[in-house]
Symmetry: C2
Subunit: 322 residues, 2 copies
């Protein structure tokens, strides 16, 4: 069993690589190799018990994709993307990576003729606009950002390539992953980790929305667990749409902060500065948050129990030592 | 007011060109020129009172698109497509024309900087799979053919290019157009016209499904009326999804035949041979037929009153003289 993680240099890709290396098994078979691929050569996995290689791959370039996506890959995780605010600012970059890059990977997988499993990360940013609450499995994808539109097109490609038998695809619409470790990124949702992570690390952070802003969240730890389960689901259980919401939970900003205070005491919350940012608000207020992920729950994927868990996971898994 | 019809050589494109030429006005402005573009230079419009030009355009080729889509086009109708059974047989042709061709036209329109109106024909083939009846405006697009998937991606592109202000797009999911004049084409729905058209012309036809097969129909005459109205809707009325069902009506094959008999007597129905075709059945039985086009009805688009009208329109507009 050989596994390729495209986007293996990102937060989720690195955690997924480490979790798979620690597990050593997928779909009941031993993992013989994990390849982490990204636009810059990803960090390696320290102390992995199985061979891990890190390679450079530009999914916008079919030759680079051909070199990286090879016939021995049994499972391909396709996580690489230009994130929301970045794709909104730079329309062409989003189209090149999120649409054409996804298409390049799928066309390469098709050309191999090996029907690999492809686990694709979509996003709840595919939801938006005039659709009634709650969002159900059969609700229209109505994105109000270029990122969301490009992810929704990726889902259609994944489904059609799967229906044709070119690949065995599975698409998961990720909730906002929080608390995301590391540095802020160019996702419009970046603050939804920063306002907790920076204070937990003793630093100031800016919250650009009001504290009653509701959104849909999942911890990195659960996200990785769900991505592994998504690779293990039997193909015949997926039905006529292989793309679904990954379970998460809806919380307001106030609930996030209260959970942080419950776990880590009152000091971190004092480091949050409130400063409205209209461009960020325009994007995130177009997103939907009242989601009912019936299908993925039925297939065994799970959400966090409480946001206090998310805070604890950050402290256990990610907080830099002083 | 200059109008470009890409796919102007097809049945709907030719009828639309003639209707616009006869009307002479769109959006309250005189039409100064109509350009019909297609992969083969389209037939001209006889006796048009306004200048009509017919040009060759291959939407798969950005240079050909650049030559055809020019800054003086106020309204662009994008009708060109590889149809359903053809796109199912030849996956690459469908991707090249239906996805990349649509993208080429939209990117060219964006590059012009003139924000033209773009009326895009999608299809009810975007619906399918596991979604509950009836299909509503906010129902998931869940295509079960490559044609449907490519049209659904075209809708996402049209919406996002519109949201960004690059174009003023409108997308209409066409019901099966029947009775379609001319020769059978490579749409899986082709028989839904042939079983009426050929008998009305005194020829035999094959029906590949049972007579209780239900489907969703619109006459060519109403389809063209609706496309003209779609170009006239004010942008602010379109909301956060510019793509919608075009109204049609659900009939069974038996109801189509009974309508033909009511209008043209008992002889034509005797020319239908019943011969099951599993590949056609596989495609058309994946389509959905119980549609509620609330949004487009509210915007003033209309369906036929009865299928007897469709039969009469064929006899009045299209039946070849003996």
């Amino acid at each position: 069993m050989k596994i390729l993680i495209i986007g293996g240099g990102g937060v989720v890709g690195q955690k997924l690589g480490r979790a798979l290396a620690a597990r050593g098994v997928l779909r009941g078979r031993n993992i013989n190799r994990i390849t982490l691929a990204d636009i810059s050569t990803p960090a390696d996995i320290a102390d992995a018990r199985i061979p891990v290689e890190a390679v450079r791959c530009d999914i916008a370039d079919p030759a680079s994709v051909a070199a990286c996506v090879t016939a021995d890959a049994d499972v391909i995780y396709l996580l690489a993307a230009i994130v929301s605010a970045h794709a909104e600012e730079d329309f062409d970059a989003g189209m090149t990576i999120n649409l054409m890059g996804t298409l390049n990977v799928l066309q390469r997988a098709r050309a191999l003729g090996t029907k690999p499993i492809v686990v694709f990360t979509s996003s709840i940013a595919v939801y938006g606009g005039e659709v009634p609450d709650p969002i159900l499995d059969h609700t229209l994808l109505n994105p109000q950002t270029s990122y969301g539109a490009q992810k929704a097109m990726g889902e259609l490609l994944l489904n059609d390539f799967s229906r044709k038998g070119f690949i065995d695809g599975r698409g998961l619409r990720l909730p906002t992953v929080s608390i995301r470790p590391g540095k802020p990124n160019r996702a419009a949702s970046s603050f939804m980790s920063s306002i907790l992570r920076e204070p937990l690390n003793g630093q100031e952070a800016i919250c650009p929305v009001d504290d009653d802003f509701p959104h849909y969240y999942l911890s990195p730890r659960k996200c990785v667990e769900n991505l592994i389960k998504s690779g293990e689901i039997e193909e015949q259980s997926l039905g006529q749409n292989r793309c679904m919401m990954m379970p998460g939970r809806m919380w307001t900003i106030r609930q996030l902060i209260d959970a942080m205070t419950a776990v880590a005491g009152p000091e971190p919350a004092k480091l949050i500065r409130w400063e409205a940012q209209p461009e960020i608000q325009r994007i995130v207020k177009g997103w939907r948050f009242d989601l009912q992920p019936e299908k993925s729950l039925k297939l065994g994927l799970t959400a966090d129990e409480s946001f206090e868990d998310n805070v604890r996971y950050y402290l256990e898994d990610d907080k830099p030592s002083a």
